[in-house]
Assembly symmetry: D2
């Protein structure tokens, strides 16, 4: 089973609920897509900020996992999001996570969430502790 | 209709999906509860970091709304979370949001998410733009 | 030598340059003062945001040090600041740092910087790695 | 007078104190250098985290200024730093700030601080309010 198939077969319950779809995964980059469903929205009907952060968190954690030595685990210790533009209901988002730092004790990942038109929706930077 | 009834009657779709329950609301403090359902978890079965952030974001935005002049709106422009302890499946969380700053152009709210035993799960600080 | 005298005798070079004055120190709270000198300002003459962050970083790191076991060290791995109000040249600031979390692997400290009139200037939250 | 000469002639007092040297400036990118002097250090003798943040803050604010319409001003409302590696005394740092977002109400800039060897020292993301 290749890496993408493995990640898809191990979807986290909350990532399932959000409808996160992994597109490509490697230790250097994680790409995933998500459709802005009505039940993920705030009012007016744009993606809830919390759903944006959850989408990104899932990607950054997955990227970290692909860089861990066997027997290690990870947990997000902090996450920072800048929200730039709303993502309207029905739109299709792409998240692209790349590493800022891959150390023995911590890893830092940054995720750009964009619309199909290339509009930046949010920029998320998170620190993962290596356990 | 009092303030709490009004807020409950205007639940955002994503807050409904997460099962956010408002307990008390005022312009000075927002308190809400949430049960860690299985489908909100990561693996192992503790609340997904994204769900923690979404819970807090909902509270901070609600607090801001209660401080807006009529005709104004708000949007979260940035959010920062420190994750302190995991929240196991089945546990009951409380979120308490209080204002750090309530200005004409921005408001800053901080939310503490704790377990029933009083363990701090996360601390979230967010900036809301007043529109 | 008591704790305050010890901390004062071990002033970091950059804290000296900024004119940080420790007022009281304990493992539960660090209080320090700083005068907004002209050479610490931006234009117009209010304290440069970087000087605010440096002031707070010094306090949070000191608080962590007072909670370390012998032989351990610490480094700031991330820091988040919200700026609320300007601090005019000549004003006298107080910084008060308290722990959000004191764990084996990380500590989180939050520092409130206020003017003599009690106006909140900035809120800083930082994570220290325990080494 | 070209843009670089103008920025150099308007150095902020605190940027002078830190020894910030602008290398190139444009509305799309700000590059500056700084030498890690002894009096900018913590103990052991590596650049104080506060000095790193102040260096970056100066660059992000300058970038914003170059994108303002005449008559507008700006203030940093929040700043987030991830610290990745120490910068030893005597080393020469480069800061490179690029825009994440340039809007009417806010601008977001990200600054990478690196050593001469290309080691990433810190990543700073800041939001500037347009006044």
């Amino acid at each position: 089973m290749d890496l993408l198939a493995r990640i898809r077969s191990e979807m986290l319950p909350f990532a399932e609920l959000l409808g996160v779809e992994f597109v490509s995964v490697s230790p250097e980059k994680i790409v995933a897509a998500m459709t802005v469903r009505k039940d993920l929205c705030t009012r007016p009907a744009v993606l809830h900020g919390g759903a944006v952060m959850a989408f990104a968190d899932t990607l950054g954690a997955t990227g970290t996992i692909l860089n861990l030595k066997e027997g290690s685990g990870t947990t997000t210790i902090e996450s920072k999001t800048n929200f730039i533009a709303p993502a309207p209901v029905g739109s299709r988002l792409t998240g692209e996570a790349t590493p800022v730092h891959r150390g023995r004790r911590t890893m830092i990942w940054q995720t750009r969430v964009t619309t199909a038109e290339g509009q930046l929706v949010a920029l998320v930077t998170q620190t993962q502790l290596v356990l």
